[in-house]
Symmetry: C2
Subunit: 245 residues, 2 copies
Amino acid sequence: MSVRHIAIRLRETHCAECALNPLCLPLAIEESDLDQLDDIIARNQPLPRGGLLFHQGSPFSAVYAIRSGAIKTCTVTPSGDEQVTGFYLPGEIVGLDSIGNASNSYDSTAVALEATAVCAIPFPALESLALRLPRLQHHLFGLMSSEIRNDRQVMQLVGKRPAEERVAALLLSLSVRGKRQRLPENHVRLPMSRSDIGNHLGLALETVSRIFTRFQQQGVITVRGKELVIVDRARLCELAEARER
Amino acid sequence: MSVRHIAIRLRETHCAECALNPLCLPLAIEESDLDQLDDIIARNQPLPRGGLLFHQGSPFSAVYAIRSGAIKTCTVTPSGDEQVTGFYLPGEIVGLDSIGNASNSYDSTAVALEATAVCAIPFPALESLALRLPRLQHHLFGLMSSEIRNDRQVMQLVGKRPAEERVAALLLSLSVRGKRQRLPENHVRLPMSRSDIGNHLGLALETVSRIFTRFQQQGVITVRGKELVIVDRARLCELAEARER
DNA sequence: CGTCACCTTGAGTATTGTCAACTCGGGTGG
DNA sequence: CCACCCGAGTTGACAATACTCAAGGTGACG
């Protein structure tokens, strides 16, 4: 196989043709400028399940756009235990928490929950580009700000909502965000373990498990391993004390 | 009193002479460019205790640098109750969570916890300036990213640490961040109510109160109303399961 | 000096965590 | 191809941390 073939294989999808285009960065870029973004992006080989995208403490170099698969980010706390800070699905950007860190290193570890393909976006290059493309700069500010907003909602959930509500809210969030993946309506994949879910929501994994069975008994969802179907979406929204989505 | 006098009074401290300069935005700006930032900043009249800096849902126009006093931000959740998302002290920036909000409105309400003076920084102007000053752009990305990092730590705290640890960690954080205010070493002002603290940490206000008394009985702190002294800092760090700061 | 927040303290309860046993399912090696 | 094994998930019993409800105290301000 020639070198050229390999190059083509690794870069097959350019931003201009990417199905996630409307979600990801290109949203903010004029078509005529898209090549400039395309040029700085490296399309890495797919990560296997359990593979590390980056590791807490290693030098910060890039943020990553997820093309397929799923990522969890986690930090190790001073007290030594792990905190799952977020789950990221296709079209979302990982690594925004590590910009301008005092030590210029990643503030969290990103682990692939299943086979995952990402676009690496070197941050210095992205910053330079943002200086020349106002809409890109604006979009980046917006992305980071929405990351803050999202974290605040999780804080709220984890801080004072009962366990059932936390789980219901996560399921809805995954369902909404997962729409891009060509899944049947109301089907949700749970690429993460019960333990990851519990950790992220501030619950014991046993509690998560119990709530899944309870929801199932009440006819709200159907769970089988990592496959989940939302049977009664309205009821699930009530359980999450959220408005219909 | 002449118009000129009023103008001078309202703008008395320029960025170049501001004591918080090394904390706030100017950090990122060459001295020669400082005037440009100075020009877009509006120094508002001080807010009284309880005054609103901005209100959730009202149109987003500016972020605010705190000069003196203290601010809490909170959101009203779909379920109707209030969530205190953060406390902000002099030198810190409020409003970064509302950039690029879908509805272009503030995502939270900012309330003065005591008489508070702020610098209003209109966001569109700040963005334009950031396009021309790469260090400013970089600093802004860093600021937002550190807001994310901070929220994640709170998530961790609120999600799985026992009540004592949450309170200890907050006290240490306030103490470190409050150093700029010319307070005696180890003295902390608590401009917020017990209820605000509890709300923010995901605890009932009674729990906060109980923990204060317990810490006091153990000789770790002294509390009297809103004045607090850290007597045994090392012990407090242990209680927060954090490293010495 | 009285009133009104805010704070403190107490008693009882309940949600959720911990510990432990058991089951299920996927993958590997015989 | 089947059996075994190991990690992940489920279920149950019990314990504990923190909440709720309730009553009393303190300080600031008019």
